[in-house]
Every structure is written in C-alpha cells, then in structure tokens.
Subunit: 414 residues, 2 copies
C-alpha cells in the first residue's frame, strides 16, 4: 500500500464515523478555530520558514503575499471556521419523499459525499477553509497543497487534527498529503477506490490538468471569461458603473469581467462614457474595428485571441454588436459559462438574456462580481463550479453532500 492509499483507507474509516457525528462536527469546528488561534506562534514560525525558502527561490512579491500569514490572517481563518460551524448541517435533510400505493415510504435524504480530495496551490488559508467545509458536510478530506506552503499547511492541519482528537473524532477526518511532488497529485487523480470527488482549487493550469487526467469525479471550478452586454436601452450611467465595478474592483478573480459587448445603437454614446470611467483605473482597452473607430487611437485593436482570454488584469476587450442575438452568440462561443450580465431597460430583452444565456449565473442590471457563496447567502464556498453536473455556480456545504433513498416497509415484495 502506498502512503496515499493508506491515507485513503484511513479517510474512509473516518468518514464512516463522521457520517453520523451530528453536532459533534460543530464542536470539532469550534475547537479547530480555538486551536488555530492557540497555535498562532507555531503556524507563523512554519510560515516564516516557507517564506524564507520561497524568497530564496525567487518567488514574486504577489505570490509571497498570497503565501504570507500574520495575526490578522490567522484570526480570519479561525473566524471562517467558526462561521462554517454556525451554518445549518445539511446531513439528514429530507429533500423529497412519498408514500407509494403499496405502502412503501420513500425518503430522499442528504448524506455526506464521503471522502473529498482537494488539490490546491500556494494559499495556506485554503487548508483551513476547505477542511472546515468538508467536515461540516460530514466528509473526510485529503488535502494536497503546494510545496511552497507545505510547512504552513502542516502547522494548520496539525492544529485542526489535534482539535478533532480533543472532541473524540478521528484525526484522519483531515489529512495533509506529505509528498508535494507532482506524482502525489497524479496518484490522487487515480485514487478511485478511496476518493468520491476531487476538487482542484487554483490557476487554470492546475484545474485543466486535473480535469483532463483525473479518473476520480472532478468538480471543475473557477475559470471565468465573463461578459457584460450593454443593450440599446441601457441606462448609460448604470452600465458604466457596473462595468467599472465588474472590471476593476478585483481584476484577479474569476467573477471579474473580461469582455464587454455594446449594442451598435448605443455604442457612440456609451463607449466614451465607459472609457472615461475605466480610465480612472488605467484599464487597457482592446476593441473591435467599430470600437476603435469610435474611441480612436487610445484603444488597441482586439484579435480573435482577446475574445477567449481571461486577462485577470486591468485589461478589457470591447466589441460592438448588431443585436441581442449577436451578443448571445458571442457569449455562447467564448464564455467559460461562469457569469454574464445584461444592462437593459427592456423587459423582453432581460427575459431573453436570462433564459437563453447558458452560464452558472446570469445577471440583469447588476455586477458579475456578486457570483460568490457569501453574496448569494450560501455561506462560505468551496469554489464556483463552471460545470453542469452535480453543482453549478457557488458551492457551499450543501453541494458537498449526496443523497440516499431510505425505504421503509412492512414486507413488500415486487
């Protein structure tokens, strides 16, 4: 048995205990939050070692910032874990049921998925977040973080495992993979006997590699080539505010927009207003021919590649379209299916856009930046699914469950 197979086996045993642990899970989560706070010195010392090694290896400042922990971030982790404890427990919720003509009583109830694997990159707070959400839904979790954050992850996981033991739950409810080489990720993708689902969290390269290679069922998260369509009837001020917010409030996240589509009948009036607003944050525009004709030399010409690119930066592609249909065609062709918005005063066009655009979240007159578990009222999220199976859009604890049918009878045969 390999180290990972042993972890898988232990996780399965732990998951069986967790499946019926009820309120003990919340006790464990609260103890975990306390343990993270109490273990701050150890966690920060481990994080300092990671930071030193990363700096010596030439890691960029922005990545060093993602890796770095401090008092406030550890407090944030602990508060996040407490917030998960405060959510409703989905396990046992009856989601459907009936009594059949033969007297059989059928109930469909929420149960944990079982064992969840998470493959993630540099941010050590994912260790606490992901473990807490998995645990709340009754799942054991096997965490495989990036090698840059290994010492930090180890210290965080250690605090959480000690809390599990303290409340009488198996510490293997939360396990951290010790081997951070590529081969451990590859092995996890083949661990169908032990893992019920694998969730990659990180950049596009990581996610695509897991989606392409995993034999374990995967929930694909994150990639967001999001659009705002400014319809001919749009309120111009509203359109400019929504675009400014959706592009610049946090350009590096998946619910930020990458392309705007502007109806030709409003383009001449709208584009200068939108550009003026975006200029405040020095957003680089890449436009189609008609956009360039309206806005002049300050706009770079867009290439085919621009329509398909998730910049995650202060860059925005701009296209003038002839109609709502052309806008929806463009979205159908280039979108990653994450979030799209229409700005319109037309009832009919709002209806058509929300019905026909096939993305996880479709907005009328609001910023795409709201696609988020917290903003949707789902509590903390494990990621935003851009696939259609199992879960789509922000995934909270409910999406970390499956169901089973409980059928009670009095001797019925068929």
């Amino acid at each position: 048995m390999t180290a990972l197979e042993t972890m898988g086996k232990n996780a399965k045993l732990a998951a069986r205990v967790l499946a019926t642990a009820g309120a003990k899970k919340d006790k464990a989560l609260l103890a975990m939050a306390d343990a993270l706070e109490a273990g701050e010195a150890e966690i920060l010392a481990a994080n300092q070692e990671d930071l030193n090694a990363a700096r010596a290896a030439g890691m960029s400042d922005s990545l060093l910032d993602r890796l770095a922990l401090n008092h406030a971030r550890i407090q944030g982790m602990a508060q996040g874990v407490r917030a998960v404890a405060a959510q409703n427990d989905p396990v046992g919720t009856v989601v459907g049921g009936s009594v059949r003509p033969n007297g059989l009583k059928i109930e469909q109830v929420c149960v944990p998925l079982g064992v969840i694997g998470i493959i993630y990159e540099a941010r050590p707070n994912v260790t606490a977040d992901a473990a807490a959400l998995c645990l709340k839904a009754g799942n054991a979790v096997i965490l495989r973080g990036g090698k840059e954050a290994f010492r930090s992850n180890q210290a965080v996981a250690q605090a959480m495992r000690s809390a599990l033991e303290q409340v009488g739950l198996p510490k293997d409810c939360v396990q951290l993979v010790q081997d951070t080489s590529r081969s451990s990720a590859v092995e996890m993708m083949q661990l169908t006997e032990y893992l019920d689902v694998l969730i990659p969290r990180g950049g596009k390269g990581l996610i695509q590699s897991v989606v392409q290679n995993s034999r374990v069922p995967v929930i694909e998260t994150g990639a967001g080539n999001c659009h705002v369509f400014v319809d001919e009837s749009a309120d111009l001020e509203m359109a400019a505010e929504i675009i400014f917010n959706a592009k610049t409030s946090r350009p590096s996240v998946c619910n930020a927009i990458e392309t705007i589509l502007v109806h030709k009948k409003i383009a001449e009036r709208a584009l200068p207003v939108i550009k003026a607003r975006l200029d405040e944050k020095h957003v680089e525009l890449r436009g189609c021919e008609r956009t360039c004709a309206i806005l002049g030399d300050s706009v770079l010409p867009a290439t085919e590649e621009d329509w398909a690119t998730e910049y995650l930066d202060y860059v925005l592609a701009v296209k003038v379209v002839d109609s709502l249909e052309e806008a929806m065609e463009h979205i159908a062709r280039y979108s990653s299916g994450h979030s799209e918005a229409i700005v319109t005063e037309s009832y009919r066009n709002a209806q058509r856009f929300t019905q026909e655009v096939d993305s996880a979240a479709v907005y009328v007159n609001a910023s795409t930046r709201f696609t988020d578990g917290g903003e949707f009222g789902l509590g903390a999220e494990i990621g935003i699914s851009t696939q259609k199976l199992h879960a789509r859009g922000p995934m909270g604890v409910n999406e970390l469950t499956s169901t089973k049918f409980i059928v009670t009878g009095s001797g019925q045969i068929r």
Copy 2:
C-alpha cells in the same frame, strides 16, 4: 472535423433551441410515439436484418431475445415515449431563491444539462427510451448503440428524427453515431468540447471502461452487489419472502440480491426456511462455514470471491454474522453501493441500518427489487446511479438537468 465532432457541434446548436422549446418538446414526443408505430414495418425489417446477421455470427439465444423487436415491443416503446411526454417538465422549475439585503433577487432554476452522450449495448428500445428522457429535459442526445443493433437503432432514430422535423424542432436533437466500432466510443469519451455528460448503459465491462477512460463527466450506473441482512429479531416468513423475491423475481437485474447475511442468533431457525423457499427456484447457495454447518452438504462453500460477485443468476452467497455491526462492515466492504435491506422488528437496528449503510437505497422490511424509477414514482428512468456526484439511485428526467442562478437587480455593484 471528425464525423463525431460535427455531430457534437450540431447537437450543441440543437440543444440551444431545445433549452427554451417548452411544450414543443411534448408535441415532439407524441409525434415520435406515433412515428414509431407508423414505422413499425421498417423498424421490424431492419431488426430482422440485425437478427439474421447476429444469428449467423452465433449470438446466444438470450442475447438474440434482447435484440429482437416485435409488434408488442414497438408498442411498448411508443407507450414509453408517451409516458415521458406526460411527465412534468423540469426545465424552469425554481429550486431555490432569496432576496439579498442589497435588493438583488436570486433564483436558482432548473436548466437542461445540454448535450448528453449515451453509450449502450444490444437492446434497441434504449434508443427510444433514452432519447425521449433526454429530450423531455431539454437535452440533445448523441446515441452510440452496439453494432449488433445498428440497423434497428437506425430505423428507430430515423422515426424520431422525422417527428422532430415535423413539429419544427431540429432533427439533430437526436443523433445516432454511424460508426459502431470501438473507436467511436473512445472518441466520445474525449469529446469534452461538445458533451456535457456521458452515460453508459449496459454490462459491467462497458461501464467500467467508460468510467476509467472518459474525460467527459460520467454518470456511473448499474452494478449491483446487493444484500439482505436478516436481523436476530426478523420475522422469519417475511425474511424468506423478501429474499425469495429479491433473488428470484428477476435475477439478471442490478437490484436483485447476491448475498444474504444472517444473524447467528436466528441462523439455525432461519436458514432452513430460507433455503426451502429458494429451492423452489433451484437457487444455488454458497455459504460460509457456519452456513454449511447448518445446511449441510447441499450448500457449496463460499470463497472470498463470492462476497464480491454480482452473479446475476440463480446463485446466492450466504454468510452468518455475529452482529448488526458485522453485517454493516461486510456491506461496507463488498457492496457496490446500490441497494441493501434489513429484515428486523427492532426499531433501533432499523434506525442504525438506514443511517449507517451508505448505499443509494437502503430498505427496512422490503425487497431491494423496488430500486427503480417507476417504483419510486419518478417516472421512467435513464439508469440507476451508483455514484454519489450529481445523482444517486434511480435517475429520471429531473436528474438530466442542471441549474443556473438568475440574478436581477437595479444597478447593484459590489
């Protein structure tokens, strides 16, 4: 572009029309049922060619029977399609929603999955069943049946496609793969750009091959190593009836049982009663040591392999266990997670069994043979999922949908 990529592209276009087709889908289904009946002569002629070729190739009688169509079976297909038309349309159902403090209105609504691939084996009625269910839920479908049934499938698909055209829907809502070689199945498993989900229907070999090799998300169906546990407090007559029904009413299906577990305190009384009932159908028993000691020479000794085998035949493995816990341990180890039953008069043991056994359907005092979409009141089923992601247990039209979030605002930014 390969032939399959072209089909995928056409299916995607068709799926966009279907997504908002509403009641037109039911018109299409009713027209399909009529077309199947009207096309009986052509379908039977094509089927006869398949049968001749299969007989010449030495196909066994039982497989020939699965391949064969006749008047009654075509009537059955048409009635099945009409029954699907009569079901509720899941598309557009609002499954959740709220108004957020900032005034955003969030609705989570059911939408089609998109394009569904079905890989199946010899039975031509799957062509009609699967296409009808996919269509009802607003999905385009690409059907890849076995080569033995190709002419029959082609005739059935042709009838359905002409019905689609007749009601003004794209005929590519239903497409049949023309290449029935292994390579077309392999290519479908890689068709991530066009297929949203792949559902294998058939034997264990087919299903495992798809699960192991597909990059398209798969819903695993079918394998059933199901158990009945006879608890110490069981009503003996009820236990014998349930076991007799679950083993012998249709041994070749996935919800038939393969192993019974009998509490040691009841084994000496129960086993002879159970055996006497099973003897009526000449069921071969393979027992553990204690079973053999009680029942004598007429029982073959079971090997480790027997506990893991889905016989799909008049064979049953029998094990005497010390406790409820040992029974649940055995199930956790060997079950395929399909259906398990306890026969008991103990409230506490019934509770523990239903809570702790982790299978798609868990029964108290009823036959496992009820795990079926029709029996559960879900209407026709596309298969029985034995995985935990997306859908678990019998899958009807509702399980062929995803959701999206529709968010309507008045200029909200974050």
